[in-house]
Amino acid sequence: MLNIDSLQKGVVIDHIEAGMGMRIYDLLGLDDLDCCVALIKNARSTKFGKKDIIKIEGDIEINFEVLGFIDPNITVDVIDDGRIVEKKKLVLPETITNVVKCKNPRCITSIEEGVDHIFRLCDREKRRYRCVYCEQEYKARP
């Protein structure tokens, strides 16, 4: 059994689908942080069987919006004095940049160098996004 100390102050990103932890680590840019970060893969989960968890120590400012797009089942708990002081509500972001690629072969993103793949939310209820260039649809996972 691997033990990782509980946090006194920081953020716990929990209920990440097993195997997705590293992607979320990259998307949130956690590599750039100086503080202590733990990525736990394949932790036991009564709900999912296996899950990934990320623990970030310290007082940090991170934009967690993208998590609402990646997987709304993910939970983000803010810890202070060893207690959960806030459970962040994940909502779909208005735009997502370089999270998914436009798959339309006729889109300018398929040939243009250095272009960001940007999708804009067009239907929050149906979780539908569209490429800002060609309007190709992308549906965020339910």
């Binding site: 300018i108 243009e112 160098e113 490429c131 800002v132 309007e135």
Partner: protein, 306 residues
């Protein structure tokens, strides 16, 4: 900086003002003969489109401006691998306004992010073609006096035909119109256009496969070409290209004041005998195209007539 990438980049009020201006240009061309003196248009055409390019160029010259540009990607630095973002940054140093046609969808939108001059989308693949939409709106308005209460038939390639999608979206904003969508099963209007424009706005529409059975109901018949370049294989193109042809015999069943529109070029979807019928409005559309492009460039450049 205002760019026009999508017809909906212009509000209904802006569109109406623009159509009013274009109408005045048609009535009083001399008044606008030098409003763009000293202004330069760049036509960046990464794929051939003689008519649209010449229409833009004629429009600028009608207003006393000058024109630079290229008419195919082979003649541009794109052949050397230059990005759209870099090209527009360079062109911004040479011209006051630009019209861009590109085979890739979203290329003008990409250009607009980096441009220091207004960018007009002159057609991006199968996506948008706002000045064609403005041309269509102007032609309908001049023929019918407005849009309310009209039954508008769209016929032919409704799947890949960008002019059709843009026209539906623009007319849907006005409300009070009915659509009859006439196409083979394979070339129907994409579901997202129907859902987001027609169903969401509660606009009456029906999808049919036979032109002749509905032509008597129409106030406007918008014909389209089944475009070879939009197909992935030749066999599908050959099978569907002759599906919908407007002939004199079919036209006899139509209302006497129906207007026939077509974005041109036609191949054979409108028989030559139809050209002399007063309901044929497609060459009038070409002329209107010059006026709306004049009005659009004048508006985006912020110049005023004396």
């Amino acid at each position: 900086m205002k760019h026009v990438i999508d017809p909906l980049d212009l509000s209904v009020e802006e569109t109406e003002a623009l159509l009013d201006l274009a109408g005045d240009m048609a009535e009083n061309p001399a008044k606008y003969a030098s409003v763009c003196a000293g202004k330069r248009l760049a036509t960046l055409f990464y794929e051939p489109s003689t008519r649209t390019r010449l229409s833009f160029e004629a429009a600028m010259m009608n207003m006393g401006g000058t024109v630079i540009g290229f008419s195919s990607a082979d003649n541009s630095s794109a052949a050397k691998g230059e990005s759209v973002a870099d090209t527009i940054r360079v062109i911004s140093c040479y011209a006051d306004i630009c019209a861009m046609r590109h085979p890739k969808e979203g290329a003008p939108a990409r250009a607009a992010r980096y441009s220091r001059i207004p960018v007009i989308n002159a057609g991006d693949g199968g996506h948008q073609h706002p000045t064609q939409t403005l041309t269509d709106l102007m032609t309908i308005r001049r023929r019918k006096g407005g849009f309310q209460g009209l039954t508008i038939g769209l016929c032919g390639d409704l799947k890949f035909g960008r002019t059709v999608h843009s026209l539906i979206r623009s007319l849907a904003r006005y409300g009070g119109v009915r659509f009859v969508l006439i196409s083979p099963e394979e070339l129907r209007v994409p579901e997202y256009v129907i859902e987001e424009e027609l169903k969401a706005k509660n606009l009456p529409y029906r999808e049919v496969e036979d032109l002749e059975s509905v032509i008597a109901d129409l106030d406007i018949l918008y014909m389209t070409r089944v475009q070879k370049e939009r197909f992935f294989n030749e066999a599908d193109y050959i099978r569907l290209k002759d599906s919908y042809i407007l002939t004199g015999a079919k036209l006899r069943k139509a209302k006497p004041d129906m207007a026939v529109l077509h974005p041109l070029p036609r191949v054979n979807e409108i028989a030559l005998e139809v050209d002399d019928d007063p309901r044929a409005a497609y060459f009038e559309q070409v002329q209107n195209g010059v006026y709306v492009r004049m009005a659009l460039m004048m508006t985006l450049l912020g110049v005023k007539a004396c």
